[in-house]
């Protein structure tokens, strides 16, 4: 009697999971990853800090999550989730929780990279390839780019300093580069550190670009390489100009480093990324 009852309740639970659609499983996973990303910026689990962290989350990151949400809903797969879907869900959940408990910081990136590969393998279905593209761009932003930067930081920073000196010399100003140190004719010296590098913004730029492409269901093609190259060049040029503008005096440094100039530069960078991303979509449609 007891065993038949337990079998009955067991089959009820099993039937619950058998009736969940594939899209619902993937939407659930999307929510888990979004929560984990936002929570990485808070120290206290109460509603207000969580809401503030959500508002302060980078707009490109939020847009990427929105695009995945939109793509899953637009191509809603009503078929029942398979054991593989649940496997992906459970593996991601374990990665976010167990690896997170060990204090490893790249767990979100590892999960998004895994999902990019998984969706790419399903690319024959309508939106899967676009979802894969956004997951890949997120992995690039939270895992691949930070790892690459850590390994090649010293080379990247020195190259950026050389570029800044070259551009300002072309404009007729005397700026000298010595490793990571920039010196101007006014005597101001700036040492380039990781936080000043344009590198982080490049991966955000690509994230926005990929999200806009996926949102408009356009796959990557050769012209996109050119658009991404232009985006990288403009962002690098913008950062070089901003750092050069810090060199004339201490007041200039304060203004462009953490004063109103930083806001102006941020807005200009934001507009550049958005403009290039949408231009590529319009150009493709026109062609």
């Amino acid at each position: 009697m007891t065993s038949s009852l337990s079998k009955e309740s067991g089959s009820k639970y099993a039937s619950l999971f058998l009736r969940i659609s594939r899209s619902d499983v993937h939407l659930g996973l999307l929510i888990l990853i979004l929560c984990s990303s936002i929570a990485s910026r808070i120290d206290d689990f109460t509603l207000i800090p969580f809401a503030i962290a959500l508002i302060n989350t980078n707009l490109f990151l939020l847009f990427a999550f929105f695009v995945i949400f939109h793509l899953i809903c637009a191509d809603y797969d009503n078929r029942r989730a398979t054991i593989v879907d649940y496997g992906v869900f459970v593996l991601s959940l374990l990665s976010l929780n167990l690896v997170g408990k060990m204090g490893v910081t790249h767990d979100v990136g590892l999960v998004t990279a895994g999902l990019a590969v998984w969706f790419w393998r399903q690319r024959k279905s309508e939106n899967a390839r676009y979802i894969a593209l956004v997951w890949f761009a997120l992995s690039l932003n939270v895992l691949i780019a930070p790892l690459f930067f850590q390994v090649f930081k010293s080379f990247i920073l020195v190259a950026e300093v050389d570029l800044i000196a070259y551009i300002w010399n072309l404009l007729g100003y005397n700026v000298w580069a010595d490793g990571q140190l920039l010196t101007s004719a006014s005597g101001v010296k700036l040492r380039m550190i990781g936080a000043c590098s344009v590198f982080t913004n490049l991966s955000f730029g690509f994230l926005c670009y990929a999200s806009v492409k996926a949102f408009n269901r356009q796959s990557f093609s050769f012209p996109d390489m050119l658009f991404v190259a232009v985006l990288i060049a403009l962002l690098a040029l913008g950062n070089a100009i901003r750092i050069g503008l810090m060199l004339p005096s201490y007041e200039a440094y304060v203004y462009w480093h953490h004063g109103s100039g930083e806001t102006i530069f941020g807005a200009a960078q934001f507009i550049t990324i958005i403009a290039i991303s949408f231009s590529s979509v319009w150009v493709r449609r026109a062609i």
Partner: protein, 178 residues
């Protein structure tokens, strides 16, 4: 419809669990720099050998974490100690003069290295974190280690047992473990 409702409740519960894990992981990373109970411990270790604190910064611009300097009776120049996260490479300030020209010791749990060993540090982080889940370690899991800059012509302070900084018992006595 009811199945979907149950699934939504499951996802909300798992989201709360994931947020809680992330916040715990954040606290793990911040414990040294914010809680400073590690600072209290290593300060006491210095005082036990007769050294006195010369300076202390909650957030040293060179590394982004707490640093302090202690002067012993024997050595003329102060020993500098930096709290540092387990990252891929040393902070830039440690790779350039004057810090890179001095002898360096990296202390993490019960290990001491003379050079930066990212793989070794990471493996030790994972080992202690994993052991702590099953309560098989006497250390409080932490992603922060200590870097000691030894002045020229001064000894490496081998008499100090640095592992005490990460001991659960020490932290609990100081009120630091949470």
């Amino acid at each position: 419809m009811i199945h979907r409702g149950i699934w939504i409740i499951i996802v909300i519960a798992l989201s709360i669990l994931t947020i809680d894990t992330r916040i715990q992981a954040n606290a793990l990373g911040n414990r040294v720099s914010n809680g400073s109970q590690y600072y209290v411990t290593y300060k006491k270790l210095f005082e036990d050998i007769g050294a006195e604190e010369v300076s202390s910064l909650d957030r040293d611009k060179r590394t982004g974490y707490r640093s302090a300097a202690f002067k012993t009776k024997i050595c003329g120049a102060p020993y500098q100690i930096f709290e540092q996260g387990v990252v891929y490479s040393l902070p830039h300030a440690m790779l350039t003069p004057p810090l890179n020209s001095q002898k360096m010791q990296i202390m993490y749990y019960d290990k001491i290295w003379d050079e930066w060993d990212h793989v070794g540090n990471t493996l030790l982080t994972l080992k202690v974190s994993l052991a702590s889940i099953f309560k098989l370690t006497r250390f409080q899991p932490s992603r922060k280690l200590l870097i000691l800059i030894i002045p020229d012509n001064c000894s490496a302070l081998n008499e100090i047992d640095w592992s005490k900084v990460w001991l659960i018992d020490t932290l609990e006595n100081e009120g630091g473990a949470s």
